[in-house]
Amino acid sequence: MRAVVKNKIGVFNPQGFLDGTTAPSMLTLDDIQATLALNIDMLLVSLKKVVFFNKNGLNVFVTLLESLHKKSGIIVGFCDYDEKQYASIENFYSDSLNFSLFRTYKIATLFTVSMQEVKEKKSILVWHEDPSQRSALAIELFDRGHSPIVCQSLSEFSQKKSQSDLYETIVYNSYLGLLGSKVATRVSGNAIIYTLSGFLDAEISNNFDIKYHNNSLNVGFTLFIFDAYKVVSMNIHGVNFFSKLATAGAEFGANICIVGMTFEKTPVNFKDELEDAGLMFFENMDDILQDKELLKDLGGSGGASRTNKRSLTKTLVNQLPRFINATVNTMEMMTNSKAEKQDAKVQPLTVEQAEGKLASSIGFYGDIDGMLVLIFPLSIAKKSCELLLGEQTDNVEDILDTLAEFVNIIGGRVKALLSEEKVSVNITLPRTYENVKDVLSTTGERKGVQVNLNFEGESFTFFLMR
C-alpha cells in the first residue's frame, strides 16, 4: 500500500477489515521504507475506512511504526478514528501507548511543519483527562504558532465544546506518544520561526531540520527567526551551528535573528562572535514582527532578496524540456484538456493582469537547484482542482491547498524524469500565493525562463529560475 504524503505527513489509508491475517499484507516494511524516503516528519495510519480491527491487526502496524520511530525519530501513530475506536486503542495499549493518536488528520497537521503560515484567528480548544498530556498538547501547539486553550476539567471542556464555533479546532481524544526531537517550526508572514529550548549543544545539529531550512531558502524565504526564550544556555557547538547556518544562507541573502536569548549562563562573547557572523539578537519577537520597516529590510515582508545573485545555468536550461513536459502533462491530466505553448523567453517573471490570479511554487535541490513558479488564472486553477476535490469550488483556501498538491505532483514528475537522465534532485514543500504580487516580489528582477501556455483560451504561466 502506498502512503499519501502531504505537509511532511505520510498517511496510509487501509480499508475494510484489519486483523492478524490481513494487516501484514496491508502495510509492509517496503511500503514504510518507500514513504520514509520522501523525508517525512510523521507517519500515520488512518482508520477512517476501517470497519473492524482487533489487537492482533493493530499490533502488526504498531510494531512497524514503533521500530520506525526508534530508527528515524519521526512521529508515528493513528488518525481519523471514532470514539469507539479510540476507546479500543486506549484499552488495548493502556500500559504501553508509545505512539500518537490524532482524532483527525487536520489535528495531526497542527503538530507538524508546512510552508504556509498559520492563519487561524481562533484558538484551539484542548482537552485530555491526563494533565501531563494536556500540557504536552498545549506546549507543542504553542511552539508551532497556534493559540491553545486548555480545559482543566471535563465539565469545563463539555461547556466550551458546546460553543465549537468559537474555536478553530477542538483537540480531544488525541494523545502525544513518543515525539520526534525535531525543532518546532512555523511560518509567520514571510519569516520562518524555529522554537528552541533547553541547552544548545551538539544535539542541535541533529534536531534541526536542515532540509526544511534549505527548502525554505530555495523557495524564497530570507528571514529566519530563532525563538530562544526557553533556551537555558549554549556551548561552542551551538555557536558553530549558527555560524554555519549564517554562512550557508549568505548565498541567498538570508537574515538570521535570535530572539529572547539571555546570556546569564552563556558566555557573552558568544553573542559577539555570532553578531560578527551576521546574526542579529532581539529581546522580543514583536521587536521584529511589529516593526514593518525592519521586517521589510530583513525580507520578512515578502520583499525580494537584494543580495541573491543566483542566475540560470546551462545545466538547468538543458533540463527545461523535462520541466515543461512534466507541467504540461500534469495540467492535461488534471484538466483533461490540451495545452498549447505560446512563447518562451528568458526574462524576469512578468505577469499581465496579476489581479485574480493564483500562484504556486516548488523548489528543488541536488545535482541542480532552482525554483519552479506557476501562475494560474482562477478558472484554470479551479478546473485543475476539480479532479482532486471532486467538485467545483469558489473557496480560495481550498483551491490554494489543492494547487499545493498539484505543484507537488509536478515536482514528483520532474524528479522522476530527471532521474531517468541520472540527475538526482529533491523537491521542497510546495508554497502557494493568493496574491501574485507576493510571488513577483520573491522572484524580483531575477531572470528565469518564462513560458506562456494556453489552456482552452486561458493563459497559464510557467517560470523556471534559480
Binding site: 502506498r2 504524503v5 496491508m26 505532483i409
Partner: protein, 263 residues
C-alpha cells in the same frame, strides 16, 4: 487522462456472450440441469473450468467429480448459474495483469470466495431467487474494467494517488461521469444478464440508493462483503484494497449481522 472515447471504445470491445454459454444459462433458468450440463460439455474450456472449480478445496466436496451432469447436480440451479456467470466474467480477464499484481488463478480465487460468502448471506436471508445468487458474479468485473482502463496510465495514477487518497473509481467518475460500476452494468446489458444483477452491483458501489428495499439491503451486504474480500491478503498484495472507496456509513446498520454470518 481517460477520455470519453476510451470509455466508448471499451464498451464497444465487450464481446457478445458465447452461444454455448447462452444455451447453458437458458437451460439452467428453465430448471433443466442435465440439458445445461450437456450444453456446457460442448465448450471444452467451460468444461475444464467447471471441473476445476468444483474440485477446489474451498467448495468442500469429498470426491473428485469429473462428469458435468454430476457437477451440475451437486451444485444445484442457483450455484450452477453463479459459476457459469463467473466463467463468463473470467473471459474478460486479461491474459497478463499489469495494474494489479494478480494472476488469473488468484482472480478466480477471489470469484470463488465471493460466491461462497454470498451464498451464505442469501441462505441466511432465506432468498431463493437464482438471479440474486448470480449477481455476485458481476462484481469482480469492476476489477477487470479498472485494469483495462488504467493499466496504461500507471505513472500518472501513482503521482495523483501519492498526494491524495483518491480511488480509481472516483478518478474515473470525475473524469468521465461514469464509474466502474456503470461499466459493469454495460457488461450485464451486453450479456443479457437478468436485471437485478446489474441493479444490485450498481448499488453496491455505495453511492446510489435504490428504491427497492430488497435491492438496497442486498447491495449493502454486497458492499461490505466486497470490502471483506478486498481486505484479504490476496487482494491487499495485489493492490486492490483501495481501488474503490469503502463507504462505512452505508453498511453501518448491517455490520454486526455480517460479522455473525460471514466472519
Amino acid at each position: 487522462m481517460i477520455t470519453q472515447e476510451e470509455i466508448h471504445d471499451y464498451i464497444k470491445s465487450i464481446p457478445p456472450s458465447p452461444t454455448v454459454l447462452k444455451a447453458t444459462l437458458r437451460c439452467i433458468q428453465e430448471g433443466e440441469l442435465t440439458k445445461a450440463a450437456d450444453e456446457a460439455a460442448k465448450d471444452p474450456a467451460l468444461k475444464l473450468f467447471l471441473q476445476g472449480i468444483v474440485n477446489k478445496p474451498i467448495y468442500g466436496f469429498k470426491n473428485d467429480i469429473k462428469d458435468l451432469r454430476q457437477i451440475f447436480g451437486v451444485l444445484g440451479l442457483a450455484q450452477a448459474e453463479q459459476i457459469v456467470y463467473n466463467y463468463m466474467i473470467s473471459l474478460l480477464a486479461p491474459s497478463q495483469w499489469e495494474l494489479f499484481s494478480l494472476s488469473n488463478k488468484e482472480f478466480s480465487e477471489i470469484q470463488d470466495s465471493l460466491s461462497l460468502a454470498w451464498k451464505k448471506i442469501l441462505e441466511y436471508k432465506s432468498i431463493k431467487d437464482k438471479a440474486l445468487y448470480a449477481s455476485i458474479s458481476l462484481l469482480p468485473a469492476s476489477i477487470i474494467v479498472c485494469e483495462a482502463l488504467f493499466k496504461a496510465k500507471q505513472d500518472e495514477l501513482q503521482l495523483l494517488r501519492s498526494v491524495k487518497d483518491i480511488d480509481y473509481n472516483t478518478i474515473l467518475k470525475r473524469l468521465s461521469g461514469m464509474d466502474l460500476f456503470d461499466l459493469c452494468e454495460k457488461i450485464a446489458e451486453a450479456w443479457e444478464m437478468p436485471e437485478p444483477i446489474a441493479q444490485i452491483v450498481l448499488a453496491s458501489s455505495g453511492h446510489t440508493q435504490p428504491h427497492d428495499p430488497l435491492i438496497l439491503e442486498l447491495s449493502k451486504w454486497m458492499h461490505l462483503l466486497f470490502f471483506y474480500q478486498l481486505s484479504q491478503p490476496v487482494c491487499t498484495t495485489a493492490g486492490l484494497n483501495d481501488f474503490i472507496e469503502f463507504n462505512i456509513e452505508y453498511v453501518q446498520d448491517i455490520y454486526e449481522e455480517f460479522q455473525d454470518v460471514v466472519m
